[in-house]
Amino acid sequence: MILAVASGKGGTGKTTVAVNLARVVGSPILLVDCDVEEPNAHLFLEGEFGEEEVVGIPIPEVDKSLCDGCGECGRFCEYRAIVSFGEAPLVFPELCHGCGGCALVCPKRAIREVERRIGVVRTMRAGPVTLIQGVLDVGSPMAPPLIRAVKTSLRNGEPAILDAPPGTSCPVVAAVRDADSVLLVAEPTPFGLHDLALAVEMMRETGVPLGVVINRCGIGDDRVHAFCAREGIPVLLEIPDDRRIAEAYSRGRLIVDALPEYRRLFEVLAEKTLRSVREGVGE
């Protein structure tokens, strides 16, 4: 069972929902921080990072003695990461997505692939929660390959909660792809509604079942609720707008620990969304 927590708008509470949910599960669970440009789930867990794995993507290296400047590589590359002006091609490593197509189409076999580092994957153990975190290197714009590397930790079939990046672009798609269900976190404000609608539109393309968490209920209006009702999307949790939640957050504390009266809310959410996890525990 893989549950992804995503949102159209940034800063609406994805990480808050993901870490609190992971905390109340109680049985072994993977928490996978796919927000590799700014991972922050670790701030709410007590533990030390253990092993660290360097992640790279394959980029082309041209053997000029074999190249005849035909330009096939540049014509193939969708991203202008390799380009030829009648001589040996120029390579722009930071634009390369690592598909390997240039090496495949080169008739002279003049291109081989070499690894270019883009970031690291780290692991932290905090009780039953195992956090897997991707950290993109500063200056490296290529998030999806690192997100895919982070997600290789999912292969062993353990229940997992994915903390996705915000928005609706490629990194988000890389994160939520192959999730069993997705929680979209939204605030009940005009901005929140606008970006929720975009996220719903994107998610519907994937066909993954959706639920919504409304965070900071009490600010704004009821248009997010009305939108969910109209679209037939269940609202699985409403987190009240409570200053004490923000205070706990600012100290890196979990809602379910700092404010036990909210613990039940997250337990109910876990039961609704991670039912198969519970069943796994019962066996």
């Binding site: 380009v83 002006f85 714009p141």
Partner: protein
């Protein structure tokens, strides 16, 4: 000798577009015949990334040996240099004004990019 100007419009009185990579058009002026053609650069304008490199390819295909533009980033500069195309920066308001400056020898050939890349 042909020169490519980054242009917002279709004739020499058009504003010189200050951006090389995201210029909507290139006005390719032939100094020998005093004629020009306009090359569309819409594909680079709409590209998610690599616009400067793609624009350099467009200019190279046009047969121009020089580019006159407002600003040029590192990838575009590297690609243009790789194609053997010289780069001249100017803040001239129109293509015609930039052409005058070029003709009177008042533009200096750029030795490097003059703005940072978007990933820097």
């Amino acid at each position: 000798m042909k020169i490519a100007f980054s242009s917002s419009g279709d004739d020499v009185h058009s504003p010189l577009d200050p951006r090389f990579g995201r210029a909507p058009k290139f006005l390719v002026y032939d100094l020998e015949t005093d004629r020009y053609e306009v090359v569309d650069n819409r594909r680079s304008l709409d590209a998610a990334q690599g616009a400067g490199i793609q624009s350099a390819e467009t200019v190279a295909r046009s047969g121009a040996g020089s580019v006159v533009t407002g600003h040029c980033g590192p990838n575009a500069f590297r690609a243009l240099s790789g194609a053997g195309i010289k780069v001249y920066h100017t803040d001239a308001p129109t293509v015609a004004a930039a052409l005058d400056l070029y003709r009177s020898g008042k533009l200096l050939e750029a030795r490097s990019e003059d703005v940072r890349g978007h990933w820097a």
